[in-house]
Symmetry: C2
Subunit: 298 residues, 2 copies
């Protein structure tokens, strides 16, 4: 196997994420053959029709046979089962990588199941859209995005470099870090905001004021703000399960700060309140401009 | 004065909100003369150039002279001073209305300053954009929006009807309610989300994980979610001051619910967690479709 040409790439889960990466492999000539593996035939048929995969199967063990690259793009709670079904047919030298949005618990569940000589490289591309399924896939999804790889002490250095190059070919900036660091970062920038959005919508939806339907008075700002509350409840309950520790830590941190903000309002400390708002505005505006926000010592 | 034709309308604060309403008065032929009043000459000159006002002045007392309609579109903390400066020149029968996003404390501050025979009708159009100033104004701003009017025991019934008709002419649905109900509704759908967005951005901006700049890993969802954290710190500190009680009440309610959600994660009550997410998704999706969300007894 040359470092960026695979004989057979198996994509387990040909949705937005897996399908888009398959299209990159195809467009860059990185795989001679691409097999799609999944549970739903209509989606697999769509993937074939769209040229995302050459063939497909619903049988994981069959699909991964002779593959030298396996990409696991199934929900995080399903990864261990996926590996369990693949393992008997995985060849030594095969590279397995995943795209799960939680890393620590995925590694814990998956790594012991990886056969000897097979190389597992845990990964997470920070990309996505509102849409799902093979029909939502497009090869530009990863351009100018970050992809985080979280090797373990067992991870083969050559396999790590190969997976890094795949993501770079997709247009992403690859950052290598510890799984625990990944999990706290994602808890903060993604999992915590989802918990807050869900909580805010339920707070407002259940509120009544003299018989008025409070939520019906919400304007554009609230709707934008709570867009992520429309995300899949099942996926998010899984993520809570898989990233429990880091998520609880960031919720605690948020709660402390909200309590402090409430104190400023209670005590009518308006200049300090305004400084808090200015700090947030500065950080947020810098983010949009692509600059790093300036930090204060908190 | 016929009910929807004014001899002279004075707009105090010719920004997005005041300017857009002035354009409605103009387009619907509701005012023979429109005078813009403000502090900044460049903005007033723009308003005149754009045909939003016929003339302008920085002298409030001068500007409101002989007006039979006065629209106060200045920041909520400045309303009392505005009325104080206007009062000597206000004629009996004149209708004054405002557009402030807080009503209880505005009424408390403003109503005692209204001269006898002058009719004050507190109002709040729920509309806005990211932009500000006369150049951002456009007459369609209020179409299909809600406008809340909060009459007091002193409010003249005829004046209330007249202001209602002005907003209906602008394309809005007018809802009449008690100021206290307005303030709790707006605390929930607007003020609370802003406090949460500011707090979330500061939580993430100050977080460090093994030297990584956490906030730089945020993707589209976080950016959309925190867009409102870019709002004016000064305006929001004023709103906190003016709507302190209702805002604290909604923060409390949110905190209780977040604590409950945290408990579900801690106790690994994932089916219940999923139901919470489903409920939020349902309420949010219904909101987008313009339907009322179905409510559970909380």
């Amino acid at each position: 196997m040359s470092s960026l040409h695979f004989k057979k790439a198996a994509i387990i889960g040909v949705g937005l994420i897996g399908g888009s990466l398959a299209m990159v492999l195809r467009n860059k000539g990185m795989a001679a053959e691409i097999v799609g593996i999944g549970r739903g035939l209509p989606n697999l048929e769509a993937a074939k029709r769209l040229g995302i995969v050459d063939s497909f199967t619903t049988d994981i063990a069959e699909g991964v046979k002779d593959a030298d690259l396996v990409i696991i793009a199934v929900p995080v709670l399903k990864m261990a089962d996926t590996i369990r079904l693949s393992a008997p047919n995985l060849l030594p030298g095969c590279i397995i990588t995943d795209v799960g949005s939680v890393k620590g618990s995925v590694i814990e569940a998956v790594e012991p199941l990886i056969p000897k000589g097979v190389h597992f490289v845990p990964g997470h591309p920070i990309a996505g859209t509102e849409n799902s399924g093979a029909e939502a896939a497009f090869p530009e999804l990863y351009i100018e995005r970050k992809c985080i790889l979280t090797p373990t002490p067992r991870t083969d250095a050559g396999a790590l470099q190969t997976v890094k190059k795949i993501w770079e070919a997709a247009g992403s900036t690859v950052v290598v870090m510890d799984a625990a660091v990944h999990d706290i970062i994602l808890a903060a920038v993604s999992h915590l905001p989802h918990m807050i959005a869900y909580t805010l919508v339920n707070t407002v939806a259940d509120m009544e004021a003299a018989g008025e339907d409070v939520i019906s008075y919400s304007a554009g700002g609230f709707k934008d703000f709570t867009r992520i509350a429309s995300s899949s409840p099942e996926m998010w309950s899984d993520i809570c399960a898989m990233n429990k520790g880091p998520l609880l830590k960031t919720i605690d941190e948020f709660q402390k700060r909200l309590e402090k903000l409430k104190g400023l309002i209670e005590n009518e400390s308006y200049p300090e309140l305004k400084r808090e708002f200015e700090r947030a505005k500065g950080a947020r505006d810098s983010l949009i401009k692509g600059h790093k926000p300036s930090k204060e010592s908190a």
